[in-house]
């Protein structure tokens, strides 16, 4: 049955041509898809199975028996409700800020710099340059720059914009700051792709038809670049919900800013509470699947990749 799915969708391609091309398609797709099946699908299934296990009858620490025990789900959705809400809240804020910061930048590079392709490519490289340096070190850099006794805060204190005993690290603001910064390239690239393809003659036509710059942006540019906005939003929002480095105590957060990821890490790697960690991951994954499902339903799968 799976083989039928890989047959050419041409209804009646002539004999040998159809056979050879579906063989080629299978040969090209199968290795990669099997790999994904093995190392993406099955882990997710593993997670669900693990989330349904119960503590071992032997009472040994970290040992579990197969079961169909949904108590873990109830446990994590109540106990970790603050973290869940926080994760989506931070993700929403960080995505919003990333969008607001990235769009004008992407517009500048994708539209204004079009007559100078070399400068365009170089500037885009600067946008993704943060990727070239370890993401942990980027976050630590902010941690140092915005620590309680840093030059930045002291400067702000000296001009009375910051309180003497006020601190930045460990607050939700710091976490959102870090998340926004780290994910700006994820937002900018899809936006740039959309804006780079924007047909400028449409903007000229709008102008010819008496639209001022704001109206042109609202009625022409924004709708046409909406696919990029949505794509960027998805690619930013979703990974942020699962992030835990920014929110971790060792980086920009504190125990009061913990997110879903911090709890999964703690339960999985320290408390050996595998069912809880798996259940929490499954809950997160379920929400994401719903979001992706809504998106795919509205725009189809052709533009996904």
């Amino acid at each position: 049955m799976a083989f039928a799915a890989f047959s050419p969708s041409a209804a009646k391609a002539t004999g040998s041509q159809a056979k050879s091309s579906s063989r080629v398609v299978l040969a090209l797709l199968l290795p990669g898809m099997l790999y994904l099946g093995m190392f993406f699908l099955i882990p997710l299934v593993s997670l669900i199975i693990t989330s349904l296990e119960t503590p071992s009858a032997t009472g040994a620490f970290g040992m579990y028996d197969y079961a169909f025990d949904v108590s873990s789900y109830i446990d994590v959705t109540t106990r970790y409700l603050p973290q869940i809400l926080r994760s989506f809240g931070y993700a929403f804020l960080a995505t919003f800020f990333a969008l607001v910061i990235s769009y004008p930048l992407a517009y500048f590079i994708g539209v204004r710099l079009r007559p100078r392709p070399l400068i365009q490519k170089l500037t885009l490289t600067l946008v993704i340059a943060p990727f070239f340096i370890s993401f942990l070190l980027r976050t630590i850099a902010w941690k140092q720059l915005l620590s309680d006794d840093s030059a930045v805060l002291n400067f702000l204190r000296s001009i009375h914009l910051w309180g003497e005993h006020q601190y930045f690290l460990g607050t939700p603001a710091a976490v959102v700051w870090g998340l926004t910064y780290n994910f700006i390239p994820f937002m900018t690239l899809p936006l740039y792709t959309s804006l780079e393809r924007l047909d400028l003659r449409l903007l000229e036509a709008a102008s010819d038809l008496y639209a001022n710059p704001l109206a042109t942006f609202r009625k022409v540019t924004l709708p046409l670049t909406l696919p990029g906005v949505i794509s960027g939003t998805l690619l930013t929002f979703i990974p942020i919900t699962g992030d835990y480095v920014n929110a971790s105590r060792d980086f920009l957060g504190s125990s009061k800013t913990s997110m879903i990821g911090n709890m999964v890490e703690a339960d999985f790697l320290q408390n050996a509470d595998y069912p809880a960690a798996s259940a929490l991951s499954a809950v997160l994954m379920a929400v994401i699947l719903v979001l992706v499902g809504v998106y795919v339903k509205r725009t189809g799968t052709e533009d996904l990749l």
Partner: protein, 265 residues
């Protein structure tokens, strides 16, 4: 008229500020790689080249760097081969499972790393596999695959199929068509995909942390050190990698620009 001119400056000015904001942590990291620090690298204690010259003196740094490089290379090769094949299939051929394939490739990009990391760890545990190089490489190939497909697919879409038809018309058999026409013309995209894949693998932390067992990668060493203080040698490695990547990318862009200019003459 004057407001028009000033208005046009707003966007470039904003962009400059935004770019500076993006680059601040990079500059900070590079600067502090020259810090004459002892244990923690938080306070500036003077300029020194020592950390650059004796980077491997700090235990764990160079070993983990080596691990990251090897893992990155292997994962990149595997992901690039598998991903390029899928990209070609998606663009050049029609088949019914197309939507399913696109969705299956999109999901790994949209899945949070904690979920992937925990899931893979659960899988390896249930398989009875010991965590080490193999589990790390297998994990990395998984999340690099989708990015390779996206990058190569964009390149395949720019390749006019008529060129391959012309090759067949000129007596090239299928293998010759691929190696003499398709592959050379796809190569820039394949190289981009490989570089992206390597960057993703090298910088990966969360998935690696869940699946590495005793093996240390560079990001893992940094994370563990973060609690007590990240040593300047880590900054050295990160800065070196950054400068290398930066120079390569800028270099290839300038080179291809010069070549295009030369051809246009």
């Amino acid at each position: 008229m004057k407001s028009l001119k000033l208005g046009r400056l707003v966007l470039p000015l904003y962009s400059v500020i935004a770019l500076v904001y993006l680059l601040i942590p990079i500059v900070y990291t590079i600067v502090f790689s020259f810090n004459n620090s002892t244990r923690s690298n938080t306070v500036w204690q003077g300029f020194t080249l020592n950390k650059w010259l004796h980077v491997c003196d700090r235990p764990g740094i160079c070993e983990s760097l080596g691990n990251s490089l090897i893992i990155g290379a292997v994962a990149t090769i595997v992901a690039t081969i598998l991903g390029t094949a899928i990209a070609i299939a998606l663009v050049r051929y029609q088949f019914r499972a197309r939507s399913l394939v696109s969705l299956s490739l999109f999901l790994p990009m949209a899945t949070p790393e904690v979920v992937m990391g925990a899931g893979l760890a659960a899988l390896f545990f249930n398989m009875g596999a010991e965590q080490g190089y193999l589990t790390i490489i297998l994990s990395h190939v998984m999340f690099c695959l989708s990015f390779v497909v996206v990058t190569v697919k964009a390149r395949v879409q720019t390749l006019d199929p008529v060129l391959e038809e012309a090759a067949r018309d000129l007596y090239a058999n299928p293998a010759q068509v691929f190696w003499r026409i398709t592959f050379p013309l796809l190569l820039p995209g394949i190289i981009s995909a490989a570089l992206l894949s390597f960057a993703l693998s090298f910088d990966d932390f969360i998935i690696t942390y869940f699946n590495s067992g005793p093996i240390d990668t560079f990001p893992k060493v940094v994370y563990i050190a973060a609690a007590k203080g990240v040593p300047a040698e880590a900054n050295v490695v990160a800065s070196a990698v950054f400068l290398l990547a930066f120079v390569i990318v800028i270099g290839t862009q300038v080179a291809s620009n010069l070549r295009a200019k030369r051809l246009a003459k």
